[in-house]
């Protein structure tokens, strides 16, 4: 399973490196969203500083949708999904590989976004340990749930519009948990954030387990 996951993740990351969709489209989009929030919420009144955590994770959610759609659009083209089914690859390995590739792309974007909120929102990155663990747990949850719902929507003609409707309500706990944990980290009271990291970890483990079991049947049906 892990060999298959490495093969799929390597392929997906190589495609992203060659196509530069993540760096030339998703990353600028993420920064643009941050900038638009900065315009919309007047920084002089302090709203922006208080809302930094939420705005950061809403932006990450938007990027997750783009990354998941991209990850499955490459499999929808030119009969690739059938070809994938004709291989000896373990579906659980395919799930892990695609989720890992999405997670790595999101982590890269989150680093960029953190720099963005420091520059644009004047956020101070104290409690680095809490920030990092929150980002890791939230990203694992987003990538796992995104991969699961991505394959579910992949076989449908209306997948581009259906995926946000399916995925956003499901990942609402990630938005809430990661926002609360980041708020605690950014406000200098990290002890308030650790329970939320626990919630994010449970969410990630549940969707990881669900994905390992359900991805194969969903790939067959899609």
């Amino acid at each position: 399973m892990f060999r298959d996951a490495a093969l799929i993740a390597g392929k997906d990351l190589r495609i992203e490196a060659r196509s530069r969709v993540a760096t030339n489209q998703i990353a600028p989009f993420a920064l643009l969203v941050l900038i638009l929030f900065a315009f919309a919420l007047d920084p002089d009144r302090g709203i922006l500083t208080r809302a930094t955590a939420g705005l950061f994770w809403v932006t990450v959610l938007f990027c997750t949708l783009l990354a998941v759609q991209r990850a499955f659009s490459i499999e929808s083209a030119d009969g690739n999904r059938d070809a994938l089914r004709l291989t000896a690859l373990d579906p659980a390995g395919i799930f892990l590989g695609k989720a890992a590739a999405i997670a790595l792309e999101l982590l890269g974007l989150e680093v960029l976004l953190l720099l963005g909120v420091v520059v644009l929102y004047d956020a101070s990155l104290d409690s680095a340990g809490l920030l990092i663990l929150t980002a890791l747990a939230a990203t694992a949850g987003l990538a796992s749930a995104g991969t699961l719902y991505g394959v579910l929507a992949a076989g449908l003609r209306v997948r581009e519009t259906l995926l946000p409707l399916l995925l956003l309500p499901v990942v609402a706990p990630v938005l809430i948990g990661s926002t609360r944990a980041f708020e605690a980290a950014l406000s200098g009271s990290p002890s308030d954030g650790w329970p939320w990291v626990g919630l994010l970890s449970v969410f990630a483990l549940v969707y990881l387990a669900l994905g390992l079991v359900a991805f194969g049947p969903l790939l067959e049906e899609s």
Binding site: R18, D78, D82, L86
Partner: protein, 225 residues
Amino acid sequence: MDSVVHLRAAVSLLGRFPALAGVDLDVAPSEIVLVRGPNGAGKTTLLRLCAGLAHLSSGEAVVLGCDLADDPKAVRARVGLLGHATALYDDLTVIDNVRFWARAAGARSADTEEAIEQLGLGGRLAKVPVARLSAGQRRRAALAILVARRPELWLLDEPHAGLDATGRDLVDDLVRRAAAAGATVLIASHELDRAVPLAQRTVTIVGGRVQPEASPVSPEAVRVP
């Protein structure tokens, strides 16, 4: 000797439409069989059924000893399907595509490199992104993946389509060599001038049903109006 493909009253529904409406077919080991018929007759569905991709709605289907009614997935890694789509990632190079799909199928790396050379995809062409290839070159790359996999059953849907004269000769050569090496080949094609001399037997599929014909058959004799 057991048939490589054994279908009895095989039905495959696409929605409510019976793409295969009770197919009877036996294909012997190392046999090259041409499946011909008009558009929409069920040729592609027949190949997909044999690959374990199309659903067997009723009837009997045993391919390479695997009962498709019980476990259609069991046969997939042992067959090679060249469909209308080439199943290549546009952003990857030719060599990256061939290596990825060959590794995913568990092919040996020596076989992969040999297939790339055999299909004339070595050198500079190997490092070109697939998006920049012509249709014929894409077809060659897809064939290279098929060759590297060394499947026991080759399922070729319009294998000559998009290829130049050299490429067409290459396909014929690959098919004959695969059969000589023990593989069984099912070809669905409209290019009867090319496919009939290649096949040892021709079957006709019309309205989702197969009707065997005598062999050898001239292209004129099997041409569908």
